[in-house]
Symmetry: D2
Subunit: 325 residues, 4 copies
């Protein structure tokens, strides 16, 4: 079944999925989007570059650079692989950050610490080696390129009454970091990517993204400094499962007698309407997540915190740093 | 579309759903199953009695009594309603328990405390007023009908290496309660029942039930004492969403030209195969749960613990008890 | 043994203790300090008013009003008493706040959520009914005097790298509350006050106070809005135990032959030096806390959150509010 | 000041402290006790062997072998040192265990997960790689010397109503391990040992030991299999601070005129009585612990779990094991 470009697709926070879905279907070069793949040892790095409004129109992602590291092996909790990916991620963070070794950085953990699939951000923040408060403690000769790192998990609107963006803006104005790194749980399009991919983007966080559907942007415009977003898909919207079932049905019926009748009845708009119907208001807020979500979130939080600690503290080793913590 | 009895249905732990699904379809009296409904103030009590193997065959639930209290209003976090349901639940627990006021009881919280949708049991246990160790502390004249209550959250196989059933058997042999009450997170068939229903059963816990799919039974046979199961649906298996989509498709197509062609192609077996196909091994372990799962589990844990504390400590008030805790 | 006024005293965050210690010893009216006691049902309310620098000099507390509610019975986890004190506290909060029913308020939970004796603030924040984000959700006719309440637990310097004061300043500038209420774990002078007293003050939080020894002030001057501090003693500094031993020794020796020799050797300065000696750097950061600190902190967090929810949401009942949360 | 042997000493769970305190005072060989010290890189290993009732009488510890690894550097959170000590501990565990590589072992985490200073045991258990349930999952050719390891945190009497010993006995009877390893938070005599020492003993857990003062024994006699105890001091009883003050006073007064008068008045019994007096019932349950207790407990839990995972899983690497977890 030919899915025409522009048709409804299940939502994904991953640019690599957004680009892939359309490309796979359209079998053509997407205007304003360049996609590059690179093979690592047990993982794939996909770089999606969205150029201007044309690119945004094509895949529904803000213009900017997106790097996705993907490794189905992460599902097996392979420690070696986790370590290799953490190192690869550290390199990508450094490259995207592009700051002097002593430029101050604020790490922000978005999401709800008490709801496991949404707890990625807060759990990363727990593991960050903060150093901003150590300047007066560390001897000058050791200070060298000690980067002032701060880390904050501002909680979610429902439990604080304050937009995450407001808290971050307030803190950024006070402590004036040179960049903000925002970690968030994401929604993927494919259940196979839950817990097996990390996305890095220089676009910041957009409204509507993330597991909670962020209400405000966290980006260079709203905060006045570059915002790097790091995310891991921890859920798939329930709608996606419905959509997949439909697609499978369509595929299975293809080539049989009844197919053309069916196809005539279900155009792109009907697909969308059908899914809207399956998703009653109650279902709309549902997400699909693995039973072992806690271990997955913990593993990925460790992987990302490890990468951040390595990328942010180049001048002083973590071991040296720990002495002053 | 006539779904013949015996066809595949999405799995549910709720007897009221199992009975309802089949009844709704078959529009006939189920053999060996009696269903009774009662209206409360803002909630419905459904009593399903499964008689012998005939009843078990009809709805796939072990013979015994199942009481479901259902209240869509729970979704709105209505405190009054929560209180009314907690009191109704306390009455049902007392009736099902049928023990003297001083007979010792063990409350068991099944599930994984660190994975929110599965944490219902451990969170209830945290809130139980235990009293088994107070016998020596409480003055004899106050002891009266003080029931020795113990409460245990034995963890899950994946993090302990021990079957929950083995831990419980070991403890039951040691402390010899007159009954075990096992609290567990359940899987429902309909997303509307997530967090809006409580099921009470005198059948204990069956293998395959619960969010994790219990591997062993916790029942009168395995433990040597009656086992009352209390559960709240916190998830729906991802398969159910796929199934719902198919059903909706079938309903929509009904009466149109293509319907008969389609129907010819999809018998009950094809439905099952199709869903199995959608559910790759990866998808098989996925569950659908609301984003606000943490608040929901906490509310329901408080409701159940409140009901248990009221039902188990009739002779001594909670306030009196707290003095010795 | 006559302890002259001005001598070293073990540190306390409680103004009632500070006034009492000196008064008890000096048996005279303290200059610039008025102390008033009031008896409740099972509890005592002590109002200390520190007038200007003279009062501050006398008891080492910033000028302002301090209200301490004290109830040894809280140790027994008496639910009725908890409820009565929560209501009394709500009245005191309202009186001290003195704001219109719809004036926005920010509740701040100071301290480290992961270190039990210091977790009071974050645990109170968890239980606050926030409403600031509900203005658009609640129907206008219900909104009435709905007070916009926000609640934040900004973490501690050691894990965020950011001074708590900086986070609060940033957020206050953004959301412009009319008052800030800061909840913090306190250090008492007497172990009997651990978990049995609540202090309310209109002076805000002073540097050096609290379990962690706050580094910066959180007060009207630093934040630009009134700051009400609410605290519960959860620890006693280890130094205090040493001091108590010394005092007891002195008392015991009094009237015996050796006493005068001893007394000649230990003037006020010697006492201080002796204690400094006992307290090696390692001991300096030690605190004394009960084994059952977790239950105590949880009980007191519930008591305070209950009082805050009642005092802040007068126009709309908690039950109504929950519908929109 | 000569403290005669047999005088009251502040309680300690550490055999090395118990032996040291008496030895230091008595300057003589203790009957029935052999003490051996060994220097590691940054740490000291002390082996205390208590021979029969004579040794027990001398230092108040059950007959058996005690190994204490002590490293003041742990206070500085030195990662290298943590790693070296973890490896040393792994070797000691293996030596004390003395079991074939595939003999089943049960790790038990004693203490209250919700009270930080007492949470060591439960936090170690969280980090243990359990494998007992993997026998059927791991391919036979990989199984090799896979040791079935189970791990349980049975909670505390106050929240379960069941003696920890009863739960463990029940589970041991069910799963029949060849040895039990019990991890517990300890009370030390010196604040300098909080978080800087690990004790390993082949005597199991004795009544009265640990932060909570265990009520029952967990040893070879009660469980029918050898019990190895692993502990870290996380608190000092508040009484100890009082005692230290007294000792310091006595030392300071020594050589001055008044000393002999003082000494005449305070014999061993008076010391005990004095301290009993300082410790009112309220104070009796108080413990001294550092403010940063959370990080300390987490660090030590990681160190111990790392040592246990290394010592217990020799045949299969942790990395291999993780694939099946």
């Amino acid at each position: 079944m030919a899915i025409s470009q522009g048709q409804w697709h299940p939502y994904t926070d991953l640019a690599s999925e957004a680009a892939g879905a359309v490309q796979g279907a359209a079998r053509q070069q997407l205007p304003g989007v360049t996609v590059q793949e690179e093979q690592g040892d047990g993982f794939t790095v996909t770089r999606v570059h969205v150029h201007g409004p044309e690119g945004e129109q094509a895949i529904g992602k803000a213009p900017g650079r997106y790097v996705t590291i993907e490794a189905p092996g992460l599902r097996e909790r392979n420690l070696d692989l986790q370590e290799r990916i953490s190192q690869a991620l550290a390199r990508e963070i450094e490259a995207l950050l592009g700051l002097p070794a002593d430029a101050p950085v604020l790490v922000v953990g978005l999401g709800n610490a008490r709801a496991t699939p949404d707890a990625l951000g807060p759990r990363v923040v727990e593991k960050i080696l903060v150093s901003r408060h150590l300047r007066d403690v560390v001897p000058a000769e050791l200070r060298g390129d000690l980067r002032p790192v701060a880390a904050l998990a501002p909680g979610v609107l429902g439990t604080t009454g304050v937009e995450t963006g407001e808290v971050i803006q307030g803190v950024v104005e006070r402590i004036r970091p040179r960049a903000v790194i925002a970690v968030d749980a994401l929604a993927a399009r494919s259940v196979e990517r839950i817990g097996t991919a990390v996305q890095l983007a220089d676009t910041g966080i957009r409204p509507g993204s993330g597991l909670q559907g962020r209400r405000v942007a966290l980006d260079a415009e709203s905060l006045g400094v570059p915002v790097i977003a790091i995310g891991v898909p921890t859920v798939v919207h329930a709608a996606t499962i419905a959509y997949d079932t439909f697609q499978l049905l369509a595929t299975r019926l293809k080539g049989r007698n009844a197919f053309f009748d069916l196809y005539a009845q279900f155009g792109p708009e009907e697909v969308r309407r059908l899914i809207d119907e399956v998703l009653t208001p109650a279902v709309g807020s549902l997400v699909v997540t693995p039973k072992g979500v806690d271990e997955m979130v913990e593993d990925m939080a460790r992987l990302i915190a490890g990468a951040l600690n390595a990328a942010l503290h180049k001048g002083v080793t973590a071991k040296e740093l720990m002495r002053y913590v």
